[in-house]
Symmetry: C2
Subunit: 176 residues, 2 copies
């Protein structure tokens, strides 16, 4: 994993890929699948996400105020779904799904070696957690695997159906 | 346009497509390009979005508390970028870009006939507008064009580069 400039983080999140969210609480590491997230600011990169209070990760995220967002490529699609199909209450998911945790620099939650990008985050706003389970995260450190830089991501359309990145097009734009 | 059940709205937004946001204030109709949005709840469908206070649409959205999110297919990509490259301060964008407004049922902002889906929304939470320009919208009514139902959408990766929907895959999932 190589450091990625924070100014480029939005280019990974803005297209809307499925991500994995890792937490660590009292030595207990967990990971969940998440599709409800968006960019909130460019730099420092702020990301909003919704983590249901029915999810095991909710309490860990709220208590530790830290997480990692790891972005999986298409080759991890089957694993992504298996992670979403079970709960950290019952399953040690890193073991069960043969994920390799890498220690992060700024947070206790681990990076995932198999993912092509990893974002170390801390929670900076919880005002909408009570009403909407909505957290605002600040990205402290970002990593990219240069060998997998052009990974195709997956986007969830509901009930296990995903659309995979197809071709890219570039148009003359003044938008950042 | 045919009514789409509100329970299916998340399947359109969760994959992270670029959308168009329309507003109407004192008879002045406008449209902007937006990629910073996410689902917040299934039903009634809640969607969070970030509209910069530098955007002309910000004041209209904040004042009228209404908008339409219109989802364009790939065939509108060039128009989507042109809409993003100029401001409603200077340009009557529906006219300039030959977009066809259709009256909505529940809000003053118009649907866009050329888009394959349209969501009539009202603002239900503004607590993070002051700090993060983050609005929470509730979808009141949803529409889909049956003839364009399987449109390929576009996802912005920054600076006018878009990834287009590729193939779909379906995996055995307990996730909604």
């Amino acid at each position: 994993m190589k450091a990625l400039p924070l100014s480029k983080v939005y280019q990974l999140i803005e297209p809307g890929p499925v991500v994995l969210l890792t937490t660590a609480q009292r030595g207990h590491v967990n990971v969940m699948t998440m599709s409800w997230h968006m960019m909130v600011d460019f730099e420092p990169p702020l990301i909003a996400c919704v983590v249901s209070n029915a999810d095991y990760s909710f309490n860990a995220l709220r208590a530790t105020k830290e997480c990692v967002l790891a972005i999986p490529g298409i080759e991890l699609a089957a694993t992504v779904v298996k992670i979403g199909n079970c709960s950290g209450r019952d399953v040690a998911k890193f073991d069960r799904f043969a994920l390799t945790p890498i220690p992060a620099k700024r947070v206790a939650a681990p990076l995932i070696a198999e993912c092509f990008a990893n974002l170390e985050c801390k929670v900076v706003n919880t005002r909408l957690v009570g009403t909407h389970n909505l957290f605002v995260l600040k990205v402290l450190k970002a990593w990219i695997d240069p060998a997998k830089r052009n990974s195709k991501t997956i986007h969830h359309q509901g009930f296990g159906r995903f659309v995979v990145d197809g071709k890219s097009i570039t148009l003359q734009s003044r938008m950042r």
